[in-house]
Symmetry: C2
Subunit: 247 residues, 2 copies
């Protein structure tokens, strides 16, 4: 580990802040939505719903919905709004089109109560001793605040799309986040389980840390199982990242 | 205290989030700047400087500098920028005009290292159990992040002028902060030691809590020693506020 830490130190010398992707990197959206869906269904007469498939279907509409904002086809809308549109779109596919407004609002807040991976809170707590730890997620502020309160995530700051006005992977999303922290991009590390997020951050001059999250997605999916670029750090989880950074 | 808590409950029923003024309400800017100034001077040949007077002179230019932004006479500029302009303006009055760029930059960061009042961290920690606790300060994000790390302030979120794009007491400052938390103003309490801040918040529909900070300003100043409006809560400090809110 000493060697590993030394190598990590060489590549990320001078770093002062860690910007985290959240969905998938810090929290388990798929397992959480499936569990919350099962809890929601208990005591309701909803028929048989595959809540893991429901989570996958909901998430599948995530990138296309943001693309409309990124490409200027609609004004900025926060993720709660996009999540709700996507929810309304998939409910019929699961025989849930009869759910009323209150039930839909309740479902939409599932994203505010996603559980951290087991290493996330201890890893972030260690990392926070030496580095600013900030959320740079596409999630909106209230979503991130409630998720942090739910899971005990010790953010120094919640930045992200609603604060900076741009969805990742638009370059402004990374550059504005660094600017809010008054740090040049080279003193910030983007921490993510997704290669495209890291590629966009690296193009803006940020350092990069890939975190392996092999359980994030459906078993058949093979994206992001391994780093696809020459990232500055590759970590098994956030505790390993803390160890590599000497925290 | 039970009576007090009951009355407080009636007036702030349904509240979910507390928005805090920070300079003066949560941290002691005057005592901290004076102490940091004395530390800065130690070992430097600066002559005799009254650092408390220096703090007062620096702070006296705070509202006028923001007024230019509020009134549209200049574009939004974050508080670090305004603080630096104000610093450059007062240095000659204290015989410090010879300080170089590095020294001025170091002085300007004093605002990032202000100390909390003794009750602030324990009070906020109690309040956080039941309510979202968010900074709604005119300070910029990096200032608030570093101050929180310095003093251990357990914010759920750092909002404020740089996030919402407006300086208090512009109404947008309050309304946009509530919007970021997805709460109507009536479910948010503005917590401040300054009557004008509370008056502006109340006009936007927020609840109000006045916190007495008799040591914030120079002994001769008599502003804000007592509540001047019919605020929903009046607290001796943040621990008292927690007690009144049943935390």
């Amino acid at each position: 580990m000493a060697d590993s830490g030394e190598r990590a130190g060489e590549r990320v010398g001078g770093v002062e802040a860690l910007l985290f992707d959240v969905f998938g990197t810090v929290v388990d959206w798929r397992g959480s939505i499936a569990r919350l869906g099962a809890d929601f269904a208990a005591g309701r007469d909803l028929g048989t719903v595959d809540w893991t498939a429901f989570a996958d279907a909901w998430r599948a509409r995530y990138q296309p919905a943001m693309a409309a904002v990124r490409e200027g086809r609609r004004p900025f809308a926060k993720l709660d709004v996009l999540h709700r549109e996507n929810l309304d779109a998939i409910l019929p596919d699961f025989g849930l089109e009869a759910l009323d407004e209150a039930a839909r609002a309740e479902l939409n807040l599932f994203w505010h109560r996603l559980d951290p991976w087991p290493d996330s809170v201890p890893g972030m707590t260690r990392l926070k001793r030496r580095f600013i730890v900030a959320a740079q997620s596409n999630g909106n502020v209230s979503l991130m605040v409630e998720m942090a309160r739910h899971g005990g995530l010790p953010w120094d700051a919640i930045l992200g799309a609603e604060v900076v006005g741009y969805y990742k992977p638009r370059p402004e999303a990374y550059l504005e986040a660094c600017a809010r922290l008054d740090r040049p991009p080279g003193r910030c590390v983007m921490v993510a389980a997704h290669n495209d997020d890291l590629a966009a951050a690296a193009a803006c001059g940020l350092k990069t840390a890939f975190v392996r999250r092999p359980k994030e997605k459906a078993p058949g999916q093979d994206a992001d199982l391994a780093p696809s670029g020459d990232w500055d750090l590759v970590a098994e989880d956030l505790e390993d990242l803390a160890a590599q950074l000497g925290c």
